[in-house]
């Protein structure tokens, strides 16, 4: 299945994904979540919120990618895509902040996620293929 910008969706590729990679990402995700929670408990929600965008998962992903592919270029391409995803995260955070007290939380977080996808996807369409 393919979309604009040369994007292809290939569920069959999942069979080639090493289980170890997913387990490592789960562990890093859990670790960062716990750190953000503990920081929030100790120093307040603003400090905890900073750690919601801690790049440990990205570092793990890049390292795993280099190990799997035995070369640096896929990791570099992944990092370039992550710039777009991270820019979308700013939109997510601004949206969550603006809607936090105005809408029910599930709706606010849902709209913030849509904002992330729209900004990251739009940036990829505009700059990702250059």
């Amino acid at each position: 299945m393919s979309a604009g910008g040369g994007i292809r969706f290939q569920p069959a590729k999942l069979r080639e994904t090493p289980l170890r990679g997913l387990v490592v990402r789960f562990a890093f995700g859990a670790f960062v979540s716990v750190v953000a929670g503990v920081v929030g408990e100790l120093w307040g929600p603003v400090a905890g919120g900073v750690f919601l965008a801690f790049p440990a998962i990205l570092a793990a992903t890049l390292t795993l990618l280099e190990e799997e592919e035995h070369r640096r270029d896929p990791a570099v391409q992944d990092a370039r895509g992550a710039v777009l995803g991270a820019t979308g995260m700013i939109a997510f955070a601004v949206c969550a902040w603006a809607l936090a007290l105005r809408l029910p939380a599930p709706l606010g977080l849902g709209l913030a996620t849509v904002a992330w996808a729209a900004i990251a996807g739009g940036l990829y369409q505009a700059f990702g293929t250059r």
């Binding site: 603003v46 990205l58 570092a59 280099e66 990092a79 995803g85 991270a86 939380a105 977080l109 992330w116």
Partner: protein
């Protein structure tokens, strides 16, 4: 429910959502588009969901405000990581870029807090 169980729940949900976005990233090409999912707000969705369930939605605005600073730092991190990974390799390059994340996040936190 005790505080420890909320932290455990936060960890499990965070890990699960990171894995979900990683699975999506594995299924899409090209690699640069897959990279978008490496910077998905999985930890944020998990953390904010648990915060709302545990403490209500009042701390959510503060959490999101801090995340704006963290996200700006993440963009800086990714931008610096591209040349560093090319030069030093993924592990050393992404580790070195953490200095940039720390500096920008610290400055951002000081500004918003």
């Amino acid at each position: 429910m005790s505080q420890v169980w909320w932290i455990v729940g936060r960890g499990l949900l965070g890990g699960l959502l990171v894995m979900v976005f990683a699975v999506i990233g594995e299924m899409v090409t090209p690699k640069r588009f897959a990279g978008v999912f490496a910077a998905a707000p999985a930890v944020a969705i998990a953390g904010m969901t648990v915060t709302v369930l545990h403490e209500g939605r009042l701390p959510l605005a503060g959490s999101a405000l801090g995340m704006i600073a963290g996200s700006v730092a993440l963009v800086s991190y990714c931008a610096v990581a591209v040349p560093l990974v090319r030069r030093l390799g993924a592990f050393a390059g992404s580790l070195a870029a953490l200095v940039v994340w720390g500096a920008v996040a610290g400055a951002g936190w000081a500004l918003v807090a």
